[in-house]
């Protein structure tokens, strides 16, 4: 066990609040968890030295931090500053059918209910998920009432100041037939450390549009996960955009807990410098007639390292499942590295599953073609790289977000090409 984990456990033992039973459970599991090494499958390509070395500290003093503005988005802002939920930034009046509250403010019955649901969707195998269970200051509980359609997106931002440590936790429940858009966003300054987990329960016929932006770069450690539980005829569409940092690790877990659920995941990550980004996407088809479509694209430049683990697990009863995973990677530099593992684990026979993975560099012919048309080589590279990613941006259902992220990505490419 690492020193860092030991001190984290020691800190968690001192907390006594309504989450105490969950914290105790997490600590018990942590005590029996080996600190991941290169031999630990889930961390095979992601060394945890940055965690072991981190100097980040919990900052309790009030710090003023505001999330980056996104034009035309007009979201309901749910803001954490250095791990603390900032209620002053939450709108006073919320659309009808939506409730957002801090777990500690709920009445005992509601707390019991929240406690019951807490960490049931997030799998217990994730060591930092357990750390988050043990250390998260509180849980923010979001619910959308039955049949309610919320057009205004909810944006969950976790903001960190220099050298801060934060553990944030949100639980979102979409009641039957409801619709919601959620944006998860971490904005971390240097030398910080954060774990950010959100659990989603998408009830029957409900529909979730989801975004996760991990755009913080530089010397911070960012570990998190979005975990989805889909019931009968539930729908989700998730988009993930990631830039690397010293260590960025995200887990997306999708559980088809009901029949005829439909999940789409489009993920793209663009790495530069010495950044590392590790995405683990796990889809559990536990019920029949489910559908999953995943598109993961990745570009790595300079000395960066990308890791992707895409697992599709089809359980014995999940007949008539359709699952597809497509993973394409571009390697721009001879010092960069891509490690990808698309996995299929299938126990039902009447299913159609496929995955494909490619690793290559930009098509030389396409590059040549553009050059013959008078486009400079470096510009042609940016164009082709951008085109590769833009195909997925075009699939983002929210136009305001697509318009916001496009120039950010273009800028990123321009930087990547300079070196």
């Amino acid at each position: 066990m690492s020193e860092w984990l030991e001190s984290a456990i020691a800190r968690a033992q001192g907390i006594n609040d309504w989450l105490a039973p969950k914290r105790a459970h997490a600590l018990e599991l942590l005590a029996n968890t080996k600190w991941p090494t290169r031999k630990t499958e889930a961390w095979r390509y992601t060394p945890l030295r940055p965690v072991e070395r981190t100097q980040a500290k919990v900052i309790t003093d009030k710090v003023e931090l505001l999330p980056v503005a996104i034009a035309d988005l007009s979201a309901i802002e749910l803001v954490f500053v250095n791990g603390q939920f900032d209620q002053t930034q939450l709108a006073k009046t919320l659309p009808e059918g939506v409730s957002i509250s801090l777990g500690g403010d709920l009445d005992t019955a509601q707390q019991a209910e929240a406690l019951h649901a807490f960490s049931t969707i997030k799998p217990e195998r994730h060591i930092f998920g357990l750390v988050n269970d043990a250390l998260a200051q509180d849980v923010v509980v979001v619910t959308v009432a039955e049949g309610v359609e919320i057009t205004q997106p909810i944006r969950i931002s976790s903001l960190l100041s220099q050298g801060a440590e934060s553990h944030t936790r949100v639980q979102v429940t979409l009641a039957a037939g409801s619709r919601l858009t959620v944006i998860e966003d971490v904005q971390a300054q240097g030398d910080s450390f954060n774990t950010a987990f959100v659990e989603y329960k998408v009830a029957a016929n409900a529909s979730l549009e989801h975004y996760r932006f991990a755009l913080q770069t530089g010397s911070n450690v960012s570990i998190g996960g979005s975990h989805f539980n889909l019931h009968d005829h539930a729908k989700m569409h998730s988009t993930l955009v990631g830039f690397g940092s010293e260590l960025s690790r995200l887990d997306t877990d999708i559980i088809h807990a009901g029949e005829f659920a439909d999940a789409k995941l489009n993920a793209m990550y663009l790495l530069d410098g010495k950044e590392l980004f590790d995405l683990h996407a796990t889809v559990e088809h536990a019920m029949p007639n489910g559908k999953t479509e995943e598109n993961v694209r990745c570009i790595v430049a300079d000395r960066s390292r990308a890791i992707f683990n895409g697992r599709i697990h089809i359980h014995r009863d999940a007949q008539k499942t359709l699952a597809e995973l497509n993973n394409r990677n571009l390697l721009l530099s001879d010092k960069a590295e891509i490690n990808t593992k698309p996995e299929l684990e299938i126990y039902a026979d009447d299913v159609k599953c496929a995955h494909g993975a490619t690793v290559a560099q930009i098509d030389k012919q396409a590059l040549y073609y553009l050059q013959t048309r008078g486009v400079s080589r470096s510009k042609a590279q940016v164009m082709l790289n951008f085109g590769f990613i833009n195909e997925l941006i075009d699939l983002m259902p929210n136009a305001a977000l697509a318009e916001w992220i496009r120039p950010i990505i273009r800028e990123r490419f321009a930087q990547m090409e300079v070196k």
């Binding site: 698309p342 299929l344 009447d350 490619t358």
Partner: protein, 478 residues
């Protein structure tokens, strides 16, 4: 239909019988004295004993690998006997006439009569009966070409320098748990050396046979193809029916020097255990080849037997322009578990690898493909293509794919594709419309599914493989 299935499922393992040859067998157990005894009985040079002992010491420190998707009771390595030799070996037979007739009958029952092969097929057979190679035929004809094909124990005496130079050079002693164990206790195996510029005049073949009860079979094969040479090597296995699990931990090392080519084909049909998975062979094999400049290694395997398979024939593409190939059909039924695949390590420039893997799962079996494609920073212009297809027959089986793809060179291109499906109702309907019974139809469809791999097999092996698949699939259709 159900009756038909029951009948076919209850089919006895056809190659299951015990032949009654007197043999000298060690008491179960493993310590340094056992290794010393093996080495002494073989009259091995001192360095070989030291090598074995150091491997054994490494092994003691190692942990059994647990990452494969297979589940079996823990092996008690002290309950295995590490040496068993047919007695008639004491005075080595000079020709087939001197061979114990009981031994020859064993092969005949398996449908591989040595004499017939010697006469008709033109294949030199280095038959391994338990642990000591008994008969080597066509030696002279090979000697004419300068090819060395003999038991590795004999090579240790006749060509110690060659063995010393290459043994453990591809699969190091402490490569993995079972390889280390094999280094310590291997009893025999084949040794092949093809001299520079020589095309081996015939296909070389070894038939393995596990016979002695409770005897682990630890084979070691070393094939060296010197510059510009070519060899095709066939390995086939079948074992008698047993109640207790038998461990088989073989090591195969291939060395393809510049411009050389090695083709290694395997048909594996060891006893898979009864319908409850009882008995059956544990097949934990390490196979690896190294390719120097412009060399080529091609692995083809048809795996239908064993209760647990753990096998990853691999290629280290060290030399520029070298080529690695892996063609595999793995069929599991009953309670069989297979975790098999390949590793292609691209080190040299313009290296190429192709992986075609076809997994068929039936009954309550689990069949996994686990592979690694790695492009090292120096693998300029390297290329890999991987295709993994799985076919599921019945709703109680599993088909899994675990491909690791690692690239550190931007000019390398890797393509990986995998699909999983069942035999489609449309295909079945079409076949049945044309008067085929369901079993025949499935057999045909499966044969088509595996065609890409079968066409890589030498003729006689391809026929055997097709037949094997057909027999194995009997009773799996419903």
């Amino acid at each position: 239909m159900t009756e038909q299935i029951d009948k076919a499922l209850a089919r006895e393992y056809e190659a299951g019988f015990v032949s009654d040859v007197e043999s000298e067998t060690f008491e179960p157990g493993l310590d340094e004295s056992v290794i010393r005894r093996i080495s002494e009985m073989k009259g091995e040079p001192e360095w070989m004993l030291e090598w074995r002992l150091s491997a054994f010491r490494e092994w003691l420190e190692m942990e059994e690998p647990e990452w494969a998707l297979v589940d079996y009771p823990k092996i008690d390595f002290q309950s295995i006997s590490y040496y068993s030799a047919p007695k008639s070996m004491k005075d080595k037979p000079k020709s087939l006439d001197e061979v114990d007739p009981e031994l020859l009958r064993t092969y005949e029952k398996l449908g591989i009569p040595l004499i017939e092969q010697q006469m008709l097929a033109g294949i030199a057979v280095d038959a391994v009966f338990d642990s000591v190679s008994v008969v080597t035929t066509f030696r002279e004809k090979l000697e004419e070409a300068g090819v060395i094909f003999c038991p590795i124990s004999e090579a240790l005496h006749k060509y110690p320098d060659l063995v010393k130079k290459y043994i453990g050079s591809v699969v190091p002693k402490k490569d993995n748990y079972y390889a280390a164990l094999n280094c310590a206790v291997f009893t025999d195996g084949s040794f092949v050396y093809i001299p520079k510029g020589t095309r081996c005049p015939m296909e070389l073949s070894t038939y393995f046979r596990i016979n002695e009860q409770n005897t682990g079979q630890f084979e070691r094969t070393l094939i060296i193809a010197d510059e510009g040479s070519h060899v095709s090597y066939l390995e086939g296995c079948t074992a008698p029916q047993r109640d207790e699990n038998q461990l088989h931990a073989a090591v195969v090392e291939l060395v393809a020097m510049d411009n050389a080519e090695i083709k290694y084909s395997t048909v594996q049909n060891w006893y898979p255990g009864d319908e409850n998975g009882k008995g059956g062979i544990y097949n934990f094999v390490t196979k690896r080849g190294i390719c120097h400049t412009n060399a080529k290694i091609s692995w083809t395997q048809v795996e239908t037997g064993s209760s647990v398979t753990w096998k990853y024939p691999s290629c280290i593409l060290k030399g520029d322009n070298s080529v690695g190939e892996f063609y595999s059909v793995a069929l599991t039924r009953g309670r069989q578990q297979a975790d098999t695949g390949t590793k292609m390590i691209h080190i040299g420039k313009n290296t190429k690898s192709t992986i075609i893997s076809k997994g068929i799962s039936a009954g309550r079996s689990n069949n996994s493909y686990r592979g690694l494609v790695r492009m090292n920073p120096g693998a300029e212009g390297a290329r890999n293509f991987t295709q993994c297809d799985s076919l599921l027959i019945g709703d109680q089986c599993g088909a899994h794919t675990f491909p690791y793809v690692e690239s550190r060179n931007p000019s390398a291109i890797i393509e990986h594709e995998a699909t999983t499906s069942k035999v489609s109702d449309e295909q079945m309907f079409l076949c049945r419309q044309r008067g085929l019974d369901p079993e025949k139809a499935v057999s045909m469809i499966v044969n088509g599914f595996c065609k890409e791999v079968f066409k890589e097999l030498p003729m006689e092996f391809a026929v055997e493989a097709g037949k094997l698949l057909e027999i194995s699939l009997e009773g799996s259709v419903g």
